[in-house]
């Protein structure tokens, strides 16, 4: 990956030139070597399945290169030798059963030969049985939710959101090394363990993909799909949502941190402690300032992508909250939309994603931010009472 800043990267980019590129391309293709700046091949595999896919692709690449060269050597010979301008007279043959049978049967045999490794790699890829650890991955517009179902971290559950600052995307700041491929909280898994991933989605179809693991599975709302990987090497592996899921489809990366078993156990314990500490008293009475401060964080993480930090939205698809009828109307209506969403629009139901306190905080924030100075205070208990209605 290019580790340079945006400006340097841009300057370097034009340097190699086309001849250089072609030479580099041919050399790298022939030697199978990966060039860091001009990546020409699949990412370096870190699971057994990904390695099989890598080799299967290499095999196929050779097969198609040989076929291509074979066919177009004949064409090139014709073009050079059988030219009218060189006085070549046309033959008149137009059928030959032997040849025609041969070029039907030989490709069929080649295909059958390829089918064997292709089948066994696939069978391996789909075998999700006997996992050491199961994690549920939920796609949201536009972030990932991770929930550990088994193992040391069972019960741990959090959201993983793009952490690249807005200024970098808008070209107001130099781009970082992992521009668009970094998140606030990556998925953490132990090295060498078979991790089964269950995917689903909250709103539209997403796709959870990590090229280094050869994992790419749709997350379909209302259904569960599964896939698996056993990472062989510690490190950070990055992928992206691979199914168009709306406006910020390009901005919901997948980051997986593969750590040693000890580290993983320590991480799991820490997460569980934090979870216990964060468990809040649902009957606590909050002040307006506390709620607004917390609400702003919740808003930035969950609402600002569409409704914007300024509350102005992106009308008409993503309406403004600043001065909106709902944000300035009765509390119940406002809470209802946040909890249950609005069908037929991009407004998701946040009831399942956010705690009572978070919903109370964000709605309080929305009713007091910008020009919506209503002075309303909504307590978690009110949210709890409304749920399920």
């Amino acid at each position: 990956m290019a580790g340079c800043s945006y400006k340097n990267g841009y300057a370097n980019r034009l340097r190699p030139g086309f001849t250089g590129l072609l030479t580099a391309g041919l050399l790298a293709l022939l030697s199978g070597a990966a060039n860091a700046a001009w990546e020409l091949n699949l990412q370096e595999p870190v699971t057994a399945v990904a390695r099989r896919v890598y080799h299967l692709h290499s095999l196929l690449l050779w097969v198609i290169v040989v076929i291509f060269i074979g066919v177009f050597a004949v064409v090139a010979y014709s073009i050079v030798v059988h030219r009218k301008s060189r006085g070549h007279r046309a033959a008149s043959f137009h059928d030959n059963t032997t040849v025609e049978l041969a070029w039907t049967i030989v490709p069929t045999l080649i295909l059958i030969a390829i089918a064997f490794p292709a089948t066994s790699a696939l069978v391996d890829m789909r075998d999700t049985s006997r996992p050491d650890l199961t994690i549920k991955v939920t796609g949201y517009q536009w972030k990932w939710g991770y929930e550990y179902l088994t193992g040391d971290a069972a019960g741990v559950k959090y959201m993983s959101v793009l952490s690249t600052p807005r200024e970098q995307i808008e070209n107001k700041a130099p781009k970082g090394e992992h521009y668009l491929l970094e998140v606030d909280r990556p998925l953490v898994v132990p090295v060498g363990k078979k991790v089964r991933i269950l995917t689903t989605a909250n709103d539209v179809i997403h796709n959870w993909s990590v090229p280094a693991f050869a994992v790419k599975t749709d997350a379909v709302p209302g259904f569960l799909r599964d896939t698996w990987f056993r990472a062989e090497k510690e490190g950070t592996y990055r992928g992206q949502c691979s199914e168009l899921c709306g406006k910020d489809h390009g901005f919901m990366p997948v980051v997986v941190e593969v750590v040693s078993e000890e580290k993983y156990a320590a991480w799991a314990a820490e997460q569980k402690q934090e979870l216990a500490a964060a468990a809040e008293d649902p009957n606590k009475v909050w002040t307006l300032d506390e709620l607004v401060a917390r609400g702003e964080k919740v808003y930035t993480a969950n609402c600002a992508a569409c409704h914007q930090a300024t509350g102005a939205g992106l009308p008409p698809v993503f309406p403004a909250l600043d001065g909106s009828k709902i944000a300035k109307g009765p509390k119940q209506g406002h809470l209802g939309i946040v909890i249950n969403g609005k069908t037929g629009t991009a407004m998701a139901a946040f009831g399942a994603q956010l705690s009572d306190t978070d919903i109370a905080a964000v709605v309080t924030y929305e009713r007091n931010a910008w020009t919506n100075k209503l002075g309303d205070v909504i307590q978690p208990a009110e949210v709890k009472a409304l749920r399920g209605k």
Binding site: H57, H82, H88, T104, I205, A214, K216, G250, V317, G344
Partner: protein
């Protein structure tokens, strides 16, 4: 024979020119296959420019990482409209235009079987194009779902989605009527002596294509109608909450969508099967096996749809079946390529613009076909699904396959249509610019896809920056090179060297027995068909 038929329609031409309207009324009311073919071709070129401009918006945004020119939601709208307009507005009407112009002249018919319906088939297209394009300006904008219109994302869209749905309905009606017309014309109006197995190959490809259209367009219409009722009338075909399944849409869509690939590719094969023999001065090799290959491809195209859905969670057995079925398509496709290559072998080759485009087609389509073989392998496809590798693959098949062969046909038949030879120098320049810039634009996308760059994203990580710059430069070069063809065509329409009735010495077929430009009415009496004009 030539002399008698000349005399025949020269008289009729005089007689007829009293009757038909002139000016704009001629074009609105025409039932003449040549007028309608011309309108299809101009319409498709206009749409090609619109769709092309949209792709340049995409490539401009992708020139560098970061968001520069457009918002992500507008980017999504552009990529959706680019695809819908190119597939339904540019490529399909272009080949229907060729079919209208050439099929009656190739089989010795005076016109299409249903001349009035033919007029309606064409005039349904502009309203559909207006609906599609105007969706940009309604609240919420055009659909931002990709041309595949997958729910639930398409359920979230604004009224632009409904406009696209109605546009698809109208386009579907147009295609179905056009196809019924073509099937009827080919099966009933061939001149005496032209048996099916002596019919020009272009007619064969269109016969199979028309059946594919008749079978697949209603399926697309059904799928989008279900979307419409899910959006507005409370049904839940594609919503799990109501007992439906979003993946059901994908099955229905691709059951249409894969035959659609061959709806675009088969007529292209037909054109190339005329151009290569003409400029090799040698009959097409393996005519019968070509016909069987076309039929086989058409048939198998209905049984491979889920190879577009390897990552949706279809069961292992399903993945295996679709992988094997997809690999099978490589066999008849290979037969076609080998036949074209052998047609050239020991021919007497010359390289006028149509032949250059046909050769360009052969090289690039083969690359697209071979990467298709890579993608057929489920395990590899899972790595490459939804990456730029797929974008590169289908542009090699669609642009290089369909567009290049459409250009081959255009330059091949332009003298017959206009009565003038086109500017060969400009034609060759057009070819070389297209060929070079196309590869600069799309070849690097294979590398981007292998390295893991997803498609349909307006912004990307820095390691993808280098190839994206190259790709954008190529796209702009390719886009602007296409304006050359407009110059060439306008020049040829206005004047130029007089074209003889058979401007290409190696070309065979009834269409070359009529004068250039082809008179308004041809073959009012069925011509005599002899072996010399058989097999294109």
């Amino acid at each position: 024979m030539q002399a008698t038929s000349h005399a025949g329609y020269a008289g009729n031409h005089d007689h007829d020119s009293h009757g038909h309207p002139t000016g704009w009324k001629r074009w609105v009311t025409t039932t003449n296959h040549k007028d309608i073919g011309t309108m299809y071709l101009w319409f498709s070129f206009a749409m090609f420019l619109v769709g092309g401009a949209m792709s340049l918006i995409l490539r401009a945004e992708l020139f560098a990482p970061g968001l520069q020119y457009v918002s992500p939601e507008f980017y999504n709208q552009m990529l959706t409209l680019h695809a819908l307009i190119m597939v339904f507005g540019a490529i399909m009407p272009a080949f229907v235009g060729f079919a209208n112009w050439m099929i009656p002249m190739m089989i010795g018919a005076s016109d299409m079987a249903f001349a009035r319906m033919n007029n309606w088939s064409f005039w349904l297209l502009p309203p559909a194009a207006i609906l599609l394009s105007a969706s940009i300006f309604v609240p919420g904008g055009a659909p931002g779902t990709g041309w595949t219109l997958y729910p639930p994302l398409s359920i979230q869209m604004g009224m632009g989605m409904d406009m696209a749905i109605f546009a698809v309905h109208i386009l579907g009606m147009s295609s179905i009527m056009g196809s019924i017309n073509i099937v009827t014309t080919i099966l009933n109006l061939r001149t005496p002596g032209m048996t099916l197995m002596k019919m020009p190959l272009f007619c064969w490809t269109w016969l199979v294509t028309a059946f594919l259209l008749i079978a697949s367009m209603p399926i697309l219409a059904g799928a989008v109608t279900m979307l419409l009722t899910d959006r507005h009338f409370g049904t839940s075909f594609f919503s799990a909450a109501g007992g439906g399944d979003p993946v059901l849409f994908q099955h229905i869509f691709w059951f249409f969508g894969h035959p659609e690939v061959y709806i675009i590719a088969l007529p292209a094969f037909g054109v190339v099967s005329h151009v290569i023999p003409a400029f090799s001065r040698k009959p097409l090799f393996g005519y019968a096996s070509m016909v069987y290959a076309i039929a086989a491809i058409g048939l198998i195209s209905f049984f491979v749809w889920a190879h577009h859905m390897y990552v949706t969670g279809i069961p292992l057995t399903g993945q295996l079946y679709f992988m094997y079925a997809t690999m099978l398509i490589a066999v008849p496709t290979g037969v076609k390529v080998f036949n074209w290559v052998t047609t050239m072998w020991r021919g007497s080759l010359s390289f006028e613009t149509p032949m250059l485009f046909a050769l360009g087609f052969l090289v690039l389509f083969t690359i697209g076909g071979l990467t298709g073989l890579v993608l057929a392998m489920t395990a590899v496809d899972i790595q490459l699904q939804d990456t730029y590798y797929v974008v590169a693959h289908f542009h090699y098949v669609m642009v290089a396959g369909a567009l290049f062969s459409a250009y081959a046909g255009l330059y091949f038949w332009l003298p017959k249509w206009t009565g003038h030879m086109y500017n060969e120098g400009l034609g060759k320049l057009h070819f070389w610019l297209s060929m070079i810039f196309f590869n600069i634009a799309f070849f690097p996308q294979h590398f981007l896809g292998l390295a893991g760059m997803p498609r349909r994203i307006p912004d990307y990580a820095q390691q993808f920056a280098d190839f994206n710059v190259i790709s954008s430069i190529g796209a702009f070069g390719f886009g602007f090179s296409q304006l050359l063809v407009l110059v060439v065509v306008i020049q040829a329409v206005k004047g130029g060297a007089k074209a003889p009735s058979r401007p290409w010495d190696g070309a065979h077929g009834l269409e070359w027995t009529v004068p250039s430009p082809a008179p308004y009415h041809t073959f009012e009496d069925p011509p005599v068909f002899n072996q010399a004009e058989a097999h294109g």
